[in-house]
C-alpha cells in the first residue's frame, strides 16, 4: 500500500479542538457549498465529510462544544448522521444536541447568522473545509478578528488565496482530498490518490518529452486531436 505524505494539518485539527476545550468556547465546522448533484462540488464535499467525521470524533472525545451549519438539505442529513455517529462512537451521545449541533441554514442567508453568532458565541476554533465561494473572506476575516484559530482547506481556486492569507493553517487544492483520505484511514481513497499520482507522473513525462521534441523541431501540433 502506498504511503501518503503526512500533512501537518492533521495535528492542527487536534490543536484547534484542544484550544477550544481549554477556553471553554465552541468549535465550528463550516462547509459552504455542499450541492452534491454537481460533480465538481461532490469531491470536496465528500472530503469535507471525511474530515468532519474525524473532527467531530475529536470534539466529542475532548468535550468541546461543536457546531456544524449546513446550507443544503441533502447534505444536511448526511452531516447530521456523521456527527451523530461520531458522538455515539465516543459514547458521548448526551452531548449531541439534535437541533443545535448540526443545523440547516439556507444557502445565501447564512452569512448574517454565522457572522452574528461567531461574535456572540466567541468561537475559538473554526474549520473551513469543502467547496468555498465568496463567503470565504467574510467568515475567515470575522473568525480571525474574534480570535479563533482556523484551518482552511478548499479546492475552489478563486478562494484558496483567502484561506491561505487569512487562516492560521491552510491546505490547498487537492491536499483537501489527501487530508480526507489520511484521516479516514481509508485504503481505497489512498489507493485512488496513488493512482492519480501515476496519472500526474505520466502527464509530466508527456509534457517534458513533448516540449523537448518541440524544442528540437518536431511538429507535435497534431497530437491529442482525434
Amino acid at each position: 500500500m502506498p504511503k501518503l505524505r503526512r500533512l501537518q494539518a492533521i495535528d492542527t485539527i487536534e490543536e484547534i479542538i484542544g484550544r477550544c476545550v481549554e477556553m471553554g468556547r465552541p468549535a465550528w465546522y463550516l462547509m459552504d457549498t455542499v450541492d452534491m448533484t454537481t460533480p465538481s462540488v461532490l469531491a470536496p464535499t465528500v472530503a469535507a465529510f471525511q474530515i468532519l467525521a474525524y473532527t467531530a470524533r475529536m470534539a466529542a472525545r475532548l468535550g468541546s462544544k461543536f457546531f456544524v451549519p449546513v446550507v443544503q438539505g441533502l447534505a444536511y442529513s448526511i452531516a447530521y448522521d456523521i456527527v451523530e455517529e461520531a458522538y455515539k462512537a465516543e459514547g458521548k451521545q448526551e452531548d449531541f444536541d439534535p437541533f443545535g449541533t448540526v443545523m440547516y441554514l439556507p444557502a445565501g442567508a447564512d452569512r448574517m447568522y454565522i457572522i452574528n453568532n461567531m461574535w456572540s458565541e466567541r468561537v475559538a476554533g473554526v474549520f473551513f473545509m469543502g467547496s468555498w465561494y465568496h463567503k470565504a473572506v467574510i467568515f475567515t476575516e470575522n473568525a480571525a478578528r474574534v480570535g479563533a484559530l482556523s484551518l482552511g482547506g478548499t479546492d475552489t481556486t478563486h478562494n484558496i488565496p483567502f484561506l491561505v492569507a487569512i487562516c492560521d493553517y491552510s491546505i490547498i487544492g487537492e491536499e483537501l482530498y489527501a487530508l480526507g483520505a489520511y484521516v479516514s484511514q481509508d485504503p481505497t481513497q489512498t489507493a485512488s490518490l496513488a493512482g492519480q499520482d501515476i496519472g500526474k507522473y505520466i502527464a509530466l513525462i508527456i509534457i517534458l518529452l513533448g516540449s523537448i521534441l518541440a524544442t528540437v523541431g518536431f511538429d507535435i501540433s497534431g497530437i491529442f486531436t482525434w
Binding site: T38, S40, Y133, H158
Partner: protein, 279 residues
C-alpha cells in the same frame, strides 16, 4: 499606549466607513480617466466581431442580482453587437435568478437596437429559460433540446419556434457566448458543448474568476474573456457605445487605492513591531 498600538487596534467599522466613502465619492463626482484595453478583452471582442452573419450562437446568461450591474452592460452590448450583425441567438440560463436577468438584458438590448434591425422573438432570438441541474443540465440541454425543455421562457412550445426548426442539439451553432458571471460555470460550457461539438467559446466572468480561466485562454480552448465591470466598459468602448459600465469602472479607483494604502500601512506597522521584537 503608543500610536502603533492604537493603529493596530483600529476598529473594523472605521475601515468599513472609509471604504463606503471611497466607493460612493466617485459615483457622486464622476471623473473619467483614460483606460487601456486588456489583452483578453481585445481577443473576446475580435472573436465576437468575426462571427459570420446569419449564423446562430448559444448564449448562456448567468448574471444574477449581484453581478448584473457589472456584467449586464457588457451583456447588453454583446447582444446588440450580435443582433446588428445579423447573428441569431439562443439564450438559456443555468441559474433560476439568472434567468430573469437575462430577460432584462434582452429587453434592454432590444430597446437600444436601431430601427429596422430584425429582432423578432422566435425568429432572431429565443430564450429557452431556466434549465436546472448545472453541468448535467447543460449537457442534457445541448445534446437534446426537446427532451430537456418543453417550452421557452414565454411558454411557447419548442416545436412552434421557427428558429429552432430542425435544430435539436448544439451542432448547428457556430459560437458559444458564455456570460457566466460568478457561477464559475465557464468549464461547463467548455466541457459539455465546446469540446464535444467543436464550437469555439468566449464569454464573460466576474473579475475574480479571470485567473482561473486563463489556462483555457492560453490553451486556445477559450477565445477571449471579458472580466467584470472593466471588461464591460472595454466592450462598450470597443463597440463605441458608451454606457453605465464606464462610470462604474472609474469608481473602483478610490476603493482600490484605499485597499492598497491599507495593505501598505498594515505592513509598515508590522515591520515596526518586528523591529521592536513585538511580533
Amino acid at each position: 499606549m503608543s500610536i502603533i498600538d492604537k493603529l493596530l487596534k483600529l476598529d473594523q467599522r472605521i475601515i468599513f466607513a472609509l471604504m463606503f466613502i471611497a466607493l460612493a465619492f466617485p459615483i457622486l463626482n464622476p471623473v473619467v480617466l483614460p483606460m487601456a484595453i486588456q489583452d483578453y478583452s481585445q481577443q473576446a471582442f475580435d472573436f465576437a466581431d468575426n462571427i459570420p452573419e446569419g449564423s446562430i450562437v448559444i448564449f448562456e446568461g448567468g448574471l444574477n442580482a449581484a453581478t448584473y450591474p457589472q456584467g449586464g452592460p457588457g451583456m447588453v452590448v454583446q447582444m446588440y453587437h450580435m443582433l446588428t450583425k445579423g447573428v441569431k441567438i439562443v439564450f438559456f440560463s443555468i441559474g433560476a435568478e439568472a434567468n430573469l436577468w437575462t430577460m432584462t438584458a434582452i429587453e434592454t438590448a432590444l430597446a437600444k437596437l436601431p430601427a429596422g434591425t430584425p429582432a423578432e422573438n422566435g425568429v432572431d432570438w429565443v430564450h429557452l429559460g431556466y434549465v436546472a441541474g448545472g453541468e448535467a443540465g447543460t449537457g442534457a440541454l445541448w445534446n437534446d433540446i426537446r427532451a430537456t425543455v418543453a417550452a421557452d421562457y414565454f411558454d411557447t412550445p419548442i416545436d412552434d419556434i421557427p428558429l429552432l426548426e430542425g435544430i435539436n442539439d448544439a451542432s448547428s451553432f457556430s459560437a458559444i457566448l458564455w456570460w457566466g458571471g460568478s457561477e464559475g460555470s465557464m468549464p461547463y460550457g467548455i466541457r459539455q458543448i465546446s469540446v464535444p461539438f467543436g464550437i469555439p467559446i468566449s464569454g464573460m466572468c466576474t473579475t475574480n474568476e479571470v485567473p482561473n480561466f486563463s489556462p483555457y485562454i492560453s490553451a486556445g480552448q477559450l477565445q477571449g474573456l471579458f472580466g467584470g465591470v472593466r471588461g464591460s466598459a472595454e466592450y462598450e468602448f470597443l463597440l463605441n457605445m458608451p454606457g453605465p459600465a464606464l462610470g462604474q469602472a472609474m469608481a473602483t479607483n478610490f476603493g482600490g487605492l484605499l485597499w492598497m494604502i491599507m495593505v501598505l500601512l498594515g505592513n509598515v506597522i508590522y515591520f515596526v513591531q518586528r523591529s521592536r521584537g513585538e511580533a
